[in-house]
């Protein structure tokens, strides 16, 4: 049974989506239960997959669709799933965030997408199918199909928001199509030279025929990278992201912000190491290593500064995502295992902390009814539980121990030092400082209230009574996800050593 785990992870939410569409119109209340159950099962299976993969016998699950064995010379003729520890971790992150986000959606879905609840749940489950598929597939073209699945679902999900969301969804369609088509072009250029689509086989052919010098392979690499960067909103190509995530329905934003860009970062790491291989990507003759690290520095600095300039909370967070993408691209391009592992670890930790922050921000915007920073006034008194969750996420974003943000930054900086890329190290530090300013600005407001406020504004005694207005905590269905997310921020931080060792071992295999 265990060998079927990879496909089961995909099939369960797929069936969930079908059932939701079929039964949703008659029994809308069942949609939530169905998707909760399907995503719950899926995340349990993916948790077991981690265990299976990590047990000594199986390091990588290879699952051949349709049972097609490789042909005589060893080339795969079918499509293959390949799950190693990295894929298993990301898949778990995807399904689990999906599961927790479904809990969060319980009340919000009915409020924000009236009448279309079943479609929302169906789309979000299909999005999870797509993301998991992206992570696990070992076929370059299948990756394209799955990228398009995630794109289409996210276009639709974003366009379910207000009119700005619809507009940004259109921009996303244009950018996303360009990105995915570039990826497809790159795969075509690889195919014309190698004659195969399986990722492992392509690397093998590239090595055997020594095709690395060929112009078409270089162009293929450039286009695949451009495509992936567009989808992950790497700095100059980030234009579609902020509005899309900020104005989408809140439960869409909370799901997509932590995962979409991160999964694409995973794809980038995978393309770099699995598809093209270490020698090709980092070899000295290509100038792009330095160039891309400088680009990531630019992404980090620009993302942080743009975030600093925003007063809208969600917008600010989306620009922080742009900066974080810069972290990960830079880390992956440093050319040493520490940096790559740091980038990968940051995929997980960034997913956790972005999820945490987005849920908290959505709750606050919902309760206060204002999406600007002054929504935070006095919130520590009014919504202490929400603010605790927010604080955990924010500290992680700044990079203070023992949250996971600190450790991912640690590994990334270690990688930067090891590679001697001081500009990257400086950019990381700079971004941490800017994040500190951004979040402490918020904390100050949340703690003390309005700027003009004086001592008398605060409640005079130690009483915990809410001083004013009806701003109260939200129902458990929104607080529980927040606490799960912030719990994961801490858990990933505490477990970082174990995780990092797994990641490092898996990546070292790829770098040889």
């Amino acid at each position: 049974m265990t060998e079927h785990f990879p496909i089961l992870i995909l099939l369960v939410p797929l069936f969930g989506a079908l059932i939701v569409v079929l039964l949703g119109r008659e029994r809308p209340e069942q949609c939530w239960v169905t998707s909760l159950v399907s995503l719950g099962i899926s995340s349990i299976i993916s948790l077991f997959t981690i265990i299976v993969v990590f047990s000594d016998k199986v390091q990588t699950i290879r699952y051949r669709m349709g049972g097609w064995e490789p042909e005589a010379n060893g080339y795969e003729v079918g499509i293959e799933l390949r799950v190693d520890i990295l894929a298993a971790l990301v898949v778990f992150a995807v399904t689990f965030v999906g599961f927790v986000n479904t809990i969060y959606s319980k009340t919000r879905a009915e409020a924000e997408v009236q009448g279309k609840v079943p479609f929302f749940y169906a789309l979000i489950q299909l999005l999870i199918v797509g993301l998991c598929g992206i992570v696990m597939t070992n076929d370059a073209f299948n990756l394209y199909v799955l990228i398009e699945i995630t794109s289409l679902t996210s276009y639709a999900l974003i366009a379910m928001g207000n009119r700005r969301a619809v507009l940004s969804s259109f921009n996303y369609v244009i950018m996303g199509t360009i990105g995915a088509s570039f990826y497809l072009l790159g795969v075509g250029y690889l195919y014309i030279k190698t004659g195969t689509l399986n990722i492992d086989d392509i690397r093998m052919v590239l090595g055997n025929d020594n095709l690395w010098e060929h112009q078409s392979i270089v162009v293929a690499f450039i286009f695949i990278m451009l495509g992936v960067w567009t989808k992950m909103a790497f700095f100059p190509l980030h234009g579609w992201l902020p509005n899309a995530y900020a104005y989408a329905p809140s439960m869409t934003g909370t799901f997509m912000a932590p995962l979409m860009t991160k999964v694409m970062v995973y794809v980038m790491i995978r393309v770099m190491l699995w598809l093209f291989g270490y020698e090709f990507v980092y070899s000295g003759q290509h100038v792009w290593k330095e160039l891309i690290i400088w680009m990531s520095v630019l992404a980090i600095v620009a993302g942080s500064l743009l975030a600093l300039a925003r007063t809208d909370i969600k917008k600010m967070l989306t620009y922080l995502i742009v900066a974080e993408v810069g972290y990960m691209v830079g880390g992956a391009w440093l050319g040493n295992v520490t940096g790559q592992a740091g980038a990968f670890y940051h995929i997980l930790s960034d997913a956790a902390m972005t999820f945490c922050l987005f849920i908290a921000a959505s709750i606050i915007v919902l309760r206060v009814g204002d999406s600007r920073v002054n929504a935070f006034d006095n919130l520590f008194r009014k919504m202490p539980l929400t603010m605790i969750g927010f604080t955990v996420g924010a500290l992680s974003m700044i990079g203070l121990p023992p949250t996971c943000g600190f450790f991912s930054k640690w590994y990334l900086i270690s990688g930067g030092i090891e590679a001697g890329q001081w500009e990257y190290v400086c950019a990381l530090i700079f971004s941490s400082l800017v994040n500190a300013i951004i979040f402490f600005r918020i904390f100050e407001r949340a703690y003390f209230g309005k700027i003009a406020g004086v001592k008398e504004d605060l409640s005079p005694s130690d009483s915990d009574a809410n001083p004013d207005t009806g701003i109260k905590e939200v129902p458990w269905s929104m607080l529980v996800p927040l606490f799960i997310a912030s719990g994961f921020v801490l858990l990933l931080g505490i477990m970082n050593r174990t995780l990092f060792e797994w990641i490092q071992t898996a990546l070292e295999v790829m770098n040889t």
Partner: protein
Amino acid sequence: MIEFSIIPLFTWLVSLLAVPAILLFRKRPDAREGITFLAAFLKLGMIFMMLPLIREGKILHFQFGEILPGIPIEFRVDGLGMLFALVASSLWILTTLYAVGYMRGLKEHDQTRFFACFAISLSATIGVAFAGNLLTLYIFYEILSLSTYPLVTHHGDKAARTGGRTYLSHLLGTSIAFVLPAMIYCYWKSGADINFTDGAFLDGKIGSSDGLIVLLAFTLGFAKSGLMPFHSWLPNAMVAPTPVSALLHAVAVVKVGVFCVLRVFTGVFGTDFLQKLDVGTVITYIAAFTIIVSSLIALTQDNLKRRLAFSTIGQLAYIVLGVSFLSSNGVTGSMMHIAMHAFGKITLFFCAGAIFVASGKKYISQMVGLGRQMPITMIAFLIGSLSIIGLPPFGGAWSKWYLFLGALDADQTAMAIVLVISSLLNIAYLLPIPVNALFRSPPQKGKKGSDAGIKEAPLACLIPLCITALAGLLFFLFPGLGFELAELITK
């Protein structure tokens, strides 16, 4: 001789565990403060339990978890940590006593928050004192920054917020910008070993120019030590209530800063290795510059707490200066000065607070002739000042003496001269306050009426300041323990 012991953990935990209890009893102030005292005494008791072992030359050690490859959360008690923990925990009791008097005297708001944060800060301070590796040190350093922020901004008004902003931005900013990369660089350079256990871990693993940069990054990055140019948080943090200022300037925060610098010199590089690298002088000059400039600025301040703040900057620079001589005498002087300055400066702050509680006066110019109404406070202030200046028969004399010897050992005659000049400056900015208060009559007879009602501060304020003043005297007579602990480090 390293010995496993669980006491360091409990010493750290005890004030942390007090926090939920404090929050639980938020409605009953007496129980709440009882818990604070209980925790404080328990802590001191545990430290005294460890003291004999440390004096035998043992190193107590406890570790759990492994947060990064090769780096656990590690507690390790040696002479330096012991000295610091001893000072911090004994002063915690006094500060708590004083805080109770002060807070109740002024009927401050949010006392629960105050005491809870206080307990967290002390826990973090002990964490720093006992930290067995650089990362543990860093973590507790950051926790201390964050947990003292609510204390600094306790009043919540605009000035407090500005002060708090400066405070946090300096401390957090420097630690992220300098210490973190330096630490990661060390981690990488030393092959994943940043434990203090086996002597200085960077010994012989780093070149001269790298070493200078790392050393500078650490020394400036631990901005709690108040070295220029990252000193301005200190005067700004003066908006805090006085017990907090006492905590910041005498016990927890600033001492953590210099303690970290001491650790960097002795535990990260090792003084011998630094001598080989020949990079200590840069720090020496920064420290000397800080001493002179801060003393000069202190002279111009009229707000008592601000003047004391600049005085603190100068005194802290002594400690850094002493250790930067890289001689055993210098390090001994530095360690002694941690303790001596702690007791001296806390006396001064207690006095400043007592004056504020009793008379509401903040400015030095208002305090002329105050000694008549508040003789005990002013005499304690005088003792504290003398101890800080370093005149016998007060404890400060020992540390100054050893610093001086250290300067001569290192052939830094110029620094010896700096020490002399700065001592003169100390006299100039500290001594006039008690002297004017005690021996001059109030200038304006007409306004005497307003001073008439002034009495000594409440007993809870008065007792601690007497004790600390007395301690300054006792340290001169019985300095043995301090030397003993210092010897454990310098040998």
